[in-house]
Subunit: 237 residues, 2 copies
């Protein structure tokens, strides 16, 4: 029943906000015309209102109606009646804190389990996983729990970047960070490069878009992911 | 009374572990010959034992005795009797979780307030600040609180990197992340490039080492920090 579309990033270099993503959204949503937008992640600290307007631009141009959860008198009721949800990127700690504070974790889980399409980019993709434990963001606020929606039984690392062999920087590479994650957590990590996305429906999980990613399993060497690769078996754990 | 030495990184590119740091440690510790090492941050997921051995190498070569808090029957008593403390880098979430679990926050605060020299690198420098809110690390475990030692009344961002104007990566720059931090937190952030350190004693806070850093104050443009710059006024807030 689950229908989930997770983008590594809202924007790829040299294109407009969500521009590259629109064909995937159009194909995924098919007949659905309304999207409930969750602006809580506030990229760059912008207001919920400005963020919603940013999202509304390309969506309305493509014929979708956008409601903001921020404008709803009852956000849980807005989730309960949404035709589809899109959780925008920004800071994952800010996003997850707001989701917990609003009591929205369970309502979204229930709707997605019942077939409501869930879409997210960046932080909005990260929180579709089991926990925020593989976010790249700065912990600028403290959520009551790191537990996330768990719409898929693994973790997502958005904006994945490969180690740079020419770097003189001594901070950890992304691959090292995910290896450290696996010293404390058992679940697989699907790392998506910018331009890549993961589409889940009909019990299938498919990598789409450009540039692919990497699959990190605890205790194993990571494996390369390319567009059209299937990760169906990960859905069963 | 406070005596604090905070390194951005344990290692600069092309040199051995702690090699560049030894002259600063020698000058800072003066007559003190014993260091209590805190290996909790476990860089790369290595064991506490291996990490302590790594640290012991250059320290013993320079004539210091190294005790590991991990070998102490009573870690709090080890802090209470330490001549000096060095908190090693690694994952800040793992480190702070262990510090809270061991009840070590208050004991370290008290000893530092009474004049015991505190040294840290990377994660060990970050936790000397008010919170871990400006770490760069992945949140691979959930600490009970983001509150850190607060030995200085501001936050530290280690491994600071400047925005790369040639980058096509859409993830946030470090400067943007710290700006987002200031949308939710009031305290100054002292960001130190690799090679730089902050030395606090006699009521003075001095930037030392190579490459400097940046000072981020809420609502203001960041200012450049260079070696020998003084941040004494930040100690008074």
């Amino acid at each position: 029943m689950r229908r989930i579309l997770l983008f590594s990033t809202s924007t790829v270099h040299g294109t407009g906000y969500m521009e590259y993503a629109m064909p995937y959204i159009g194909d995924f949503l098919a007949g659905i015309r309304e999207i409930l937008f969750v602006p809580y992640a506030r990229p760059g600290g912008i207001s919920h209102e400005r963020y919603t307007e940013l999202f509304r631009g390309p969506m309305e141009a493509a014929g979708y109606r956008v409601r903001s959860i921020q404008d709803a008198d009852d956000p849980i009721a807005a989730v309960d009646t949404a035709e589809s949800v899109f959780v925008g990127g920004g800071n994952t700690f800010v996003l997850l804190t707001a989701l917990h504070a609003g009591g929205l974790i369970e309502p979204v889980r229930k709707r997605v389990a019942a077939g409501m399409p869930y879409m997210g980019s960046s932080a909005g993709s990260n929180v579709a996983g089991l926990s925020l434990g593989t976010t790249n963001d700065m912990p600028i606020v403290q959520p009551p729990s790191f537990e996330a929606f768990g719409l898929v039984p693994f973790n997502i690392n958005p904006h994945y970047v490969d180690p740079d062999p020419g770097s003189t920087h001594m901070g950890e590479t992304r691959a090292t960070r995910i290896k450290e994650f696996h010293a404390f957590n058992p679940q697989p990590v699907v790392a998506l490069r910018e331009g890549a996305l993961l589409r889940v429906e009909r019990g299938e999980a498919v990598v789409e878009g450009a540039r692919g990613g990497r699959l990190f399993m605890a205790g194993q060497e990571p494996t390369e992911l390319q567009s059209s690769d299937r990760l169906d078996e990960l859905l069963e754990s």
